[in-house]
């Protein structure tokens, strides 16, 4: 696989994964870029034992874990944790259908509700859900990306969905 093929095929998903791990667009862009650059430079050593996507997502995860160990980022995380400690998780109201906001507004509200619900999950649980739903990865592939047993993927995904169903019930019933 050439660097161009790797970038064209997996950039969007690497960014999606990074976005769910970091929780913000700026950090996600840095993380996805670092991981893709590492992958391209290590492409010669990629033996093709696993899928290239799985291999790249593992690099994303490792880069993220390394960033977590950075003292500067740890400070900001503690600060964010301090401010969000008192927030309680409540079911998210579906967008009000009357007096009828435009379809775009309704879509934006729906999107915001999903973002809010996702932010209630742990970063690794968000990664599991995203790899499953957006990239269709099997449990064994997700387990390989996260370096956890397959049973852990299964139980954490089930728990995350249960939580999201609880938070988004109004929205899901609308459909």
């Amino acid at each position: 696989m050439s660097p161009e093929e790797l970038v064209n095929k997996y950039s969007d998903m690497a960014y999606c994964l990074a976005l769910r791990l970091t929780g913000n667009a700026a950090d996600a862009e840095d993380l996805a870029e670092d991981a893709l650059i590492k992958a391209i430079r290590g492409l010669a050593g990629f033996r093709g034992d696993s899928d290239a996507g799985v291999w790249l997502y593992r690099i994303v995860m490792n880069c993220w874990k390394n960033q977590l160990r950075s003292p500067r980022l740890a400070f900001w995380r503690r600060l964010r944790g301090f401010y969000s400690a008192g927030e309680e998780e409540e079911p998210i109201d579906p967008p009000d259908p009357s007096p009828g906001p435009g379809p775009q507004l309704e879509a934006a509200a729906r999107s915001e509700a999903f973002e809010k619900a996702m932010s209630s999950l742990e970063p690794q649980d968000r990664a599991i859900l995203i790899l499953r739903e957006l990239d269709g990865r099997s449990y064994s592939e997700i387990a390989e990306v996260l370096s956890v047993p397959e049973g852990t993927v299964r139980s954490r995904l089930s728990r995350s969905r249960e939580k999201l169903r609880g938070l988004l019930r109004g929205l899901l019933e609308e459909k």
Binding site: D12, R20, F114, E133, E162, K175
Partner: protein, 130 residues
Amino acid sequence: MTHDEIIEDLSAYFDGQLGPEKTIEISAHVSSCPECRAALDELKALSAGVKTNLAAAAPAGMKERVLARALERKKPQLRTSTVLAAALAVIILALMAALAAKRAMPVMFAQIQGMINGASSTLGASGGNK
């Protein structure tokens, strides 16, 4: 399998990640259990919602930037360890050259030694820098 066990496995069933036996058993149960059917419908709606609302494309220009940065030729950088090793080598060479010169030219070294001794005794006699 009991109803509660099936509820626990519903997420994996929805993903098609169970073995054939369990899949058949759960399919049979779901067709006759309104609660499980409703839960399955919610899982479908959730999955569709995640795909619609949480997919994101990489920011514009990211792909080009990544390729440019990854493929650019690495500029040679002097590491600290390299600089220290080079400095040490220079010092060792200088000492070896001095030792070799002392052996090869003892007269010149004796003259230099004499000049140093003379200068120090002159300074000593004048009382130094008072």
